[in-house]
Amino acid sequence: MIALWHRLADRLAHREPATPLALFRIALGLSILYTLLPMIAADVVAMVWMDRPYGGYRELSPDHWLVAALGGPTDAAVTILVGLGVVSALLLLVGLGSRVTPLVANQVMTALFALNPESGGGHDRLLTAGLWLLVLAPATATLSLDARLFGPDKRFVSSQPVAAWPRYLVIFQLVVVYFTTGVQKLGQDWMPWGGWSALYYALLAPSWQRYDTTWVATIYPLTQLATAITWLWEVGAPLWLLAFWYRATRDRPGRLRALSNRVDLRAVMAAIGLFFHACLWLTMNLGPFSLVTGSFYLCLWHHDEYAAAWRRLRDKLFRTDSVRI
């Protein structure tokens, strides 16, 4: 047990370049903008987040300290919070403000989502949970103005190593979300005896439809297959952890380990997830759900893999340019 603890402590002391965390930071900044800007454009900020005297549809009684400090859900307080949300999102995008920026974003978005919980979704808390992980992570160590202005290399892109454990926590959070969502899909429509009909009925229900979807009746067997895969894939999310374990211990023997590393189980799982998120985005209006969740995928890959992919892309573009010349 003591040996295991020492191995865990050593693993968590590991350092690596911050590229995945920086991409995660940028994606969460975009997610905040995708949350707030459509609300402003559709003119629903007052309707949903302000108290009745200020244009809201109901009396609100949020218990977040920041809302209380600003005097309650008034027009001025909510305008300040939304403004701070937009500014902090832009700072996350350009990477300015180190850990203070995600801390402000985390508290502002938590306050906004606390205003009227009945108008929220599960992705709200995934966004704020992700922002908290950015508070723990030095995510402006690269791809940021912080790195350009204050970093040791004074360059926008830097390979300075930072703590790797925040990236592990992002991956763990992703696995927890999918696994617990999967095991709580207990409605019989998700089960074989319910005909695996959940996605068929979910697409027909009016709440989240992007457009008329009565055509799903013509592809019912496909929706059944998608339902079964979705459920199995979500419940199987811990396979990601297994895939990472196999990658970290690739020198050890074992056919399953070798197979997992050969096919890159981690990437296969990610590809299935991203495919279903794309399908969801095309057929249902779930706001920033897919973008927020997809942000967490960015931490599935190590800096070296991003660097290699970038080199390949650059070489390919360069070769194309040479041919044109």
């Binding site: 603890w5 865990l8 402590a9 050593d10 968590l12 459509p38 609300m39 559709a42 003119d43 629903v44 949903v48 809201g56 549809y57 109901r58 508290q107 978005m109 009945e118 108008s119 929220g120 979704g121 599960g122 709200d124 808390r125 995934l126 704020t128 949970a129 908290w132 508070v135 592990y168 926590l169 927890v176 979300v177 617990t180 969502t181 095991v183 709580q184 409605g187 019989q188 429509d189 998700w190 089960m191 005896w193 319910g194 009909s197 959940a198 068929y200 009925y201 979910a202 027909l204 229900a205 009016p206 439809q209 457009y211 009565t214 799903v216 009746a217 013509t218 019912y220 209006n285 779930l286």
Partner: protein
């Protein structure tokens, strides 16, 4: 230092895991358990267990689940207590219950304005391309989330509050109208064959409420 770091990371992992541990949070009410959707679900599970040779009755399974669910919530509450302040402060207190059950009898929000002579004109219907008053607002995902609760015929108080808000807007947007009528039209979602051959079934009306618009002018 590395041991302290490992301990703190482990505490975070524990907090998130306890919070996310599957539990019937917000689902332990006799009223909810009596809905046709849940009753069908219980019957489906009991049938599946009988199919593999377990002698389980529908009622017996429900009674056991009721007891186990309440016990689980008690244990969860106690286990979560030390982590709550941390999870609340950091915005991480979500338990990930998304699309657990699918609504097979959803209701569509409809709004109509009238002249006081029982002549009504539909101005808004959820997801309609024909009745599109306030569509931009009503289609926004925050408002969708709100109305989704009504679609299950839940949150009646909130529904009434939104209705008053809509009546206020209608009093400005429809100066010729004297009344507003709002309702939830519920439909049983048909099976694929039925949908292909007969289309959507006729709805039943629920929660119909009328407002005199003069009150808001």
């Amino acid at each position: 230092m590395k041991h302290l770091r490992a301990l703190l990371v482990l505490l975070h992992v524990l907090a998130v895991s306890v919070m996310a541990f599957p539990a019937p949070v917000g689902a332990m009410s006799k009223k909810d358990w009596a809905t046709p959707e849940l009753q069908e679900t219980f019957q489906g599970y009991a049938g599946a267990l009988r199919a593999v040779g377990l002698p389980v009755s529908d009622e017996g399974l429900q009674a056991w689940l009721w007891e186990a669910g309440n016990d689980l919530l008690t244990v969860r509450k106690a286990a979560l207590a030390p982590f709550r302040p941390y999870l609340e402060l950091t915005g991480s207190e979500q338990g990930w219950r998304m699309f657990g059950t699918v609504n097979r009898r959803p209701a569509w929000l409809v709004v109509e304005v009238g002249d006081g002579q029982d002549q009504w004109r539909r101005v808004y219907e959820m997801r309609s391309d024909e009745h599109t008053w306030l569509r931009e607002q009503m289609d926004q995902e925050r408002v969708r989330g709100l109305v989704n609760g009504y679609s299950w015929l839940n949150r009646r108080k909130s529904y009434d509050q939104l209705s008053v808000w809509l009546a206020r807007r209608a009093s400005v947007d429809f100066p010729e109208a004297s009344h507003l009528r709002i309702a939830m039209e519920r439909r049983r979602l048909p099976a694929p064959d039925e949908l292909r051959t007969q289309g959507m079934p006729a709805p039943t009306r629920h929660w119909e409420t009328r407002y005199s618009l003069d009150k808001y002018r």
